[in-house]
Symmetry: C2
Subunit: 152 residues, 2 copies
């Protein structure tokens, strides 16, 4: 039985996971958001098999999350570097939400290993729901409603 | 080579994905946040194999995201229902962040199938970074910093 492609789903959670949901992909994005751009750096940080890493990076390029840009150091062959697009940088919100959930509900004894702060002011930030006036709303006060586009 | 368990990682993104990252798990949570509680309802909505669904629900119960509670309808055998815990309800933020990203960067022709609104007032909400004063901060103004607990 052929599995339907998640990226063709009418559900935007499913489509996002079609691009992002493979094992390793969020960890690649975590490193990319922290400034990693080179294949060898990703591989060293993650300890992932090169063929798996190459496949995940190709998917991210294909769906516009990263761009592949050649670079060459003196005396070395040309290599590819990977840079986040605007779409990739916006995934910081999704990464941050997973991270704060893990820090709260699956805490590590030594505490959080990463904190998110406002650049320049160094003030901490968290991820949450925000209304049209820019005010935070508790998850318990938010409901998910089906639109007219919801498949019957 | 044995793969280290993601749930033992020092990285809270990795730990969260150790619980949530299996294919189907986010889609189970999406349905649970919309009110689904019964095994047969999850199965019908997702079209997932029963053994896979049972395994995913067991993991979610094991890590405190859902509770398993027996119920019985007249004339039927006792069955289990699955209810989100506080930890599970807080995953609404992570689901919302994936959904808005998918709606923006992998749009479906007919538009979003789900909207998130404030209960009672019906005003739309989105997911984003929030500072200590409760004000929204752009992802481009947020940086991820390693703490003293970061493994060397």
């Amino acid at each position: 039985m052929a599995t339907p492609k998640l990226t063709d789903s009418s559900c935007s959670v499913a489509r996002s996971l079609g691009v992002l949901g493979e094992r390793w992909t969020f960890l690649i994005l975590r490193d990319a958001l922290a400034g990693t751009t080179r294949f060898a750096q990703f591989q060293k940080s993650l300890g992932v098999a090169p063929d798996v890493l190459a496949a995940r990076l190709t998917t991210l390029v294909e769906y516009g999350v990263m761009t592949r840009e050649p670079y060459q150091e003196p005396g070395s062959r040309p290599r590819d570097a990977y840079h986040l697009t605007e779409a990739g940088r916006e995934l910081h919100v999704a990464l941050g939400s997973l991270q704060q959930w893990g820090d709260k509900y699956l805490p590590w004894p030594a505490g959080p290993t990463i904190e998110r702060r406002v650049r320049d002011t160094d003030r901490p930030v968290h991820v949450g729901f925000i209304d049209e006036d820019g005010r935070e709303v508790s998850p318990d006060d938010v409901e998910a409603l089906r639109t007219a586009s919801y498949p019957v």
